[in-house]
Every structure is written in C-alpha cells, then in structure tokens.
C-alpha cells in the first residue's frame, strides 16, 4: 500500500515537472504581466505593449532559428555576429537601394549558415565549436566591412523600423509571420520531421537513410537567414548600422528564450509557441527591472535564475 502511494507521488511529481517544462513559461509570462499591471505605472497602455513587442521582435526572430539548431541537437552561436554582418552589408549596399541592401544582408546570413552547416555536417565539427568560429569570424568581417557606426538615411528602410499597419508595427507583423512560418515548417514539412529525428537520435536517423547532412546544412542556413532578418530590422529601428555592438550577446538571449520555452537542449523537440513565450518572458523581465529602476546587474541575475529553473525542470524530467 505504502509503495503504491509512493509510486503515485512519483508519478505526480513527474507530471508536475512535465507541466512545468511545457507550460511553465506561459505561467511565467502571466505572472509577470499581473505583477506589472498591479505595480508598474502606465503599464496597461497600447504604447507600452507596442514598445515591448517591438523590442522583442528581433530577439524572437533569432530565437526561431536557434530553436531549429537546438532541435537538431546543435546550437548556433554565430547569430549575433550575423546580425552585425547584416547591418554592415546594408550600409555597404544601400547605395543601390533598400531592396538590394536587404538581399545582400540575407545572402550574408545564408553564407554564414552554409559555412556553419558545412563544418557541422560534412567535416563533423561540434556545433558549438563550428559556430563559435563563425561568431568570431563574422563579427570580424562585419567590422572590416564597416569599421564604425554609420547612419542610415534611406526612407524606405527607416519606415520598416517605425511604420505600422493598423497600429501594429511592421517589426511585430514580420516576427509573427516568421514564427507561424517556422512552426509550420517544423510541423508539416518533411524537413521538420527529419530535423526532429536527427536531433533525437542521429545514428538511428542515419541508418533510416535520412539525408542527415542536407538537413543539418539547411538548419544552419535558416538560422543564419533569420538572424540576418533580425539584423536588418534592428538596423531599421536604430536608423543606423552599428557593427560594433549590434547583436552582442544575442546568442545568449536566443538560447535562453528557446530553453525557457521548453525546447530541450538534447534535441529532438522544437516548441515554437514556447519559444515565442520565452522571448516575451525575458523581455518582460528586463522591462520590469528597468521600469522599476533596479540595478542593471539584477537583470542578468534574474535571467540566470530563469535559465537554471528551466534547465532544472527539463533535467529532472529527463531523469525519469
């Protein structure tokens, strides 16, 4: 009898951890919203929500690509540098017009993705090492191309950063559309299924005849392209190309959003809804601390606590 109840307690704990991992992030967002509504002056306003949404958009877009990389049991540390590269390329090509500049930035992101993917899939370099190399190289290249901050005057690009449709900023619309697109890719395409299988068990995927290399290259290409899009949007919003600081530590924010959103670091699972919520959670956390003028170091500590909690929930669950 006692053994039986013990067993049930363990099951309950397991279920609790699973719920916490899967839905804890939504709970966190809800709690932060409530806390802010109660204690932060002027929180409940359209402008405020607009501000938070606009600020989170680039982080979210990068996190979408990161979710794919993590789902394949990898990681992409080069995303911040890709943003810097994209912003450099924009300034460099803006003379031809906004569209050409945009395409140049995207091509830059894709090329970094190809390099990452080739290192990981063909040469067999650990993702963390391969993308670390491109993180260093990418930032270096960005600074070679554009050694210092440069203002962007193109009206088309500037309106991308500030304009809106029916009160919803372009940035937010683009981020939302990309989130839906990536969710669709993960759920409904062959690529998405194969990506999850490779992330869960690469030897099994290999023996099942999956095009492992092609899928992995595509993962990093998508991650690079998404980071480049984020770089373009951040540039438009800043109305300047700042390769020195744009995208600094972006890889950490993106990984945090993905992990807090319930995507396990061990691969085989990608949660786009959770990633969106994870990015929002971090944004709200940062906003709360800034609005209440708490010491800046607290933001970092708070983020660290959230990461540890998320990883703990995933780990404890993984043990069973």
């Amino acid at each position: 009898m006692s053994e039986l109840t013990l067993g049930r307690a363990a099951v309950d704990r397991d279920r609790l951890l699973r719920l916490l991992q899967d839905y804890g992030v939504y709970l966190g967002v809800a709690v932060l919203l409530l806390v802010n509504i109660a204690f932060t002056p002027h929180f409940l306003s359209a402008e405020n929500f607009r501000t938070q949404a606009v600020q989170v958009a680039p982080v979210l877009i990068v996190a979408l690509g990161m979710a794919l990389a993590i789902g394949s049991e990898g990681v992409d540390l080069s995303v911040g540098s890709v943003m810097a590269l994209a912003t450099s390329l924009i300034s460099l090509y803006l003379g031809y017009g906004a569209w050409i500049a945009l395409i140049a930035a995207l091509v830059g992101g894709v090329l970094v993705g190809v390099a990452n993917g080739a290192l990981v899939a063909f040469i067999g370099v650990q993702p963390i090492v391969a993308t670390l190399a491109l993180m260093v190289a990418g930032r270096g290249l960005a600074l070679v191309l554009l050694p210092q901050l440069k203002d962007v005057r193109d009206p088309g690009l500037r309106s991308l950063g500030t304009g809106d449709v029916l009160g919803i900023p372009y940035l937010v619309l683009i981020a939302a559309a990309l989130a839906l697109l990536v969710a669709f890719v993960v759920r409904r395409t062959t690529f998405g299924r194969q990506l999850l299988a490779i992330g869960d068990s690469r030897p099994a995927a290999q023996l099942a005849g999956l095009p492992v290399r092609r899928v992995l290259v595509l993962v990093y290409v998508l991650s690079g392209a998404l980071a480049a899009v984020a770089g373009v949007l951040a540039t438009a919003r800043l109305t300047a190309s700042d390769p020195t600081s744009l995208g600094n530590l972006m890889e950490l924010s993106a990984i945090t959003a993905v992990v807090v959103g319930g995507t396990p670091l061990t691969g085989g699972r990608v949660r786009i809804g959770g990633t969106v919520a994870g990015a929002v959670l971090i944004q709200l956390l940062t906003a709360t601390l800034i609005k209440h003028d708490l010491p800046p170091s607290w933001t970092q500590i708070a983020q660290a606590v959230v990461i540890v909690l998320a990883v703990y929930a995933a780990r404890e669950r993984g043990k069973r």
Binding site: G95, L141, D242, D293, S297
Partner: protein, 366 residues
C-alpha cells in the same frame, strides 16, 4: 559519417574556402554605400583640424618632470622616431579622431611616426609596444587599454631611456620615473560640467534619468560621480530617479529610454554618459511621439552626430571629451627632449557645445 571519403572532404573544404573568399570579394568589390556619391566620410578629415587641438586645462600647480630627473639625453624631436600604440580598433569616433590627430601632428612636424593597434587585446598591446621599441622608436605615446600590467614594457623602455607619454588613461606606475607624463581628460569634471548644462536646461527642477556607460568602466563611474555630486550640491530640486546602463551603445540607449518614457512619461531630462546612448534616447523620444525639447538631453563626447542633435533641437548640451591628443602630446615630447620641464599630469581642456555655439562649431566636432 565519421569516415568521410578523403577527396570529398577536401572538396567540401575547398568549397567552404572558396565561398568565404567569394563572399568577401562580393561584399567589398561592388559595394556602394549611401554616401559614396557625396563627398568623403565624416570624422577623419576634420579630425586633423588645427583649431581643434587641445589646450591644457591645468598647466601649473601640478608636479613637473624634466629630462634630468628622468634620465637620458637631450635630443631633437624632429630627427626622432615616435611610436604610437593605440588600444582599441578605430571603430568609434573617439579612437578614429585620436589616431588621426597623432598622425596629422607628426606629419605637420615632420616627425617619423610608427603606429600599432592592439585590437582591445592587452597582450597584443604589450607586444605592440615591444615591437615599436625594437623597430627603433625613440619616444613612445601610448593609449593604454589597461592601467595595470605594464612592468615588462616599462623595464624594456627604461633600459633604453625611452620617454613615454600616456594619453587618455593613466597607468599604475611612477611618473617621471617609469614614464614621463599623462595627458588626459578629467572624467569627473566632465560629469560636473554635464550637470551644469542639465541644471541650466531644466531650470534646476524636475526629474532626471541617467543612461550609464558600460558597467565596471572607470569612465562610467567618474562621469556618474561628477554629475551626481554637482546636482546634489547645486540643484537639490533636481532628482535622479532612474539609472540604467545603455552600455555606451545606441541600441541599448534607445531600448532603455523606450522603457523609461513608458513608465515615467513626465521625465524632465536625460543625462547620457556618451553621445551614442544620447542619440539612442533621441530615437526613442521620436518614436514615442515626443517633440524636440520636450525632454532635455545632455551627453558627453562631442561627436558630429550629437552636435548636429543640438542644432536640430533634440539635445540641450554636449560636453566634449577631446580625443585630439596629437598637438599636446608632441608639444610635451618636444619640450621634454629639449630639456624643459613638463607637467606629470596634464589635464586637457574639454570644450562644450550648446545651442549658442553648436552650429558654428559643428565643424570642430569629430
């Protein structure tokens, strides 16, 4: 998977290398930026402006040094070789103007100048300086990345009696023994003067936000201290209600300011500890539908963009942190090698930009 066929591996490597080279060529080869058509880039040309050189703020009162006290022999600067070691990549206006100023002054005086850039790596700066010495530098100007860790360089230079002038940051060593003098700004003073501007712009009443620089940076702490002390002392009705870091970057400055004006829409003024964060704050205010002058902004550095901000009415005042060490550094070396006394601590005079002089002095900004 692990046993890739060799030729295939080399093929993919070659492909990778080719791709990277191609992308670089593509990126640089046919680039065309927005202002390729009109004139040259800002900054570099004006950096050498003769009228924008530095003046000494406190020429007397401090300790002095001469060649007799330091050791070594008199010489003529004209026939000497000067080595300059820059700390960071010339990726921000300050460093660009600093290096350009030294180069311009060397050219003007006809002195041979060797330069090196440590790219923010301290170990590289140490070997840079040792290189400069072995390449025959008779005198050294150093913009140190760190204050500590200079013993090996000082020993090498001391053995050859090479006079060293450090610019913009002091090193922890004995003046007139390990090095000759330090030429730099007084960051506390910059903060105080920014406070004066803020008091003037706001009338000494209201609430103030501070956009701090990078954490753990002496510039941040000193500019904050000077500002807060002066506000407390002179305008007790001006309250600092918000202090968040913008990490000296425009994007962070913009994001933090966006949060600020949501939660404290009636903020009176913003003190940004560098121009970039101030410009980010301007972006944020524009985005929130504020008008120029609604919130008073005071920044430090004196870059062209910020001074333009004064002209446009968004920024109330900019305190200059003068990067043009060239004239003063060479003047110091010249006097010193002739045998004259020079100050051990030479604090340079930073000017300020307000709406009264912004338009006329815009060309002086770097």
């Amino acid at each position: 998977m692990t046993q890739t066929v060799p030729h295939r591996r080399t093929a993919s490597r070659a492909l990778l290398a080719a791709g990277l080279v191609a992308s670089l060529a593509l990126a640089t080869g046919c680039a065309k930026s927005e202002d390729d058509n009109n004139a040259s880039d800002k900054g570099s040309s004006s950096a050498a402006n003769e009228n924008a050189g530095q003046e000494v703020a406190s020429p007397d009162g401090g300790k002095t040094c001469d060649i007799a006290a330091f050791g070594g022999e008199k010489a003529d600067l004209k026939s000497a070789t000067v080595g300059f070691s820059q700390s960071e990549k010339e990726a921000n206006p300050f460093r660009i103007a600093e290096t350009a100023s030294l180069k311009a002054e060397a050219k003007k005086r006809g002195v041979k100048l060797l330069t090196a850039n440590a790219q923010s790596q301290f170990s590289k700066q140490i070997s840079d300086v040792q290189d400069l010495i072995s390449k025959g530098a008779d005198l050294l100007v150093i913009a140190p990345l760190n204050s500590d860790g200079w013993e090996p360089v000082l020993r090498a230079a001391g053995a050859k009696h090479i006079p060293i002038v450090t610019v913009d940051r002091k090193i922890n060593a004995t003046a007139c023994k390990d090095y000759v003098s330090f030429i730099g700004s007084d960051f506390v003073e910059q903060g105080k003067r920014a406070a004066d501007q803020m008091i003037e712009a706001t009338g000494g009443k209201g609430t103030i936000a501070i956009l701090l620089g990078a954490a753990g940076n002496n510039v941040t702490t000193e500019r904050t201290k000077g500002f807060e002390d002066r506000i407390k002392e002179k305008a007790p009705d001006l309250k600092v209600v918000f202090k968040q870091t913008g990490e000296f970057a425009r994007e962070k400055g913009q994001q933090v300011t966006e949060q600020l004006i949501q939660s404290k829409p009636d903020i009176t003024g913003i003190y940004a500890e560098n121009d970039e964060m101030g410009l980010g704050a301007v972006n944020a205010l524009k985005g929130a539908g504020k008008k120029a002058g609604d919130v008073k902004i005071v920044t430090v550095d004196g870059t062209r963009n910020a001074v333009q901000g004064i002209v446009d009415g968004w920024i109330s005042g900019v305190i200059e942190s003068n990067p043009r060490f060239g004239p003063l550094a060479f003047q110091t070396l010249d006097s010193f090698t002739k045998g004259d006394k020079v100050g051990q601590d030479i604090v340079i005079k930073d000017s300020a930009y307000t709406k009264d002089n912004a338009e006329s002095d815009l060309s002086k900004a770097y």
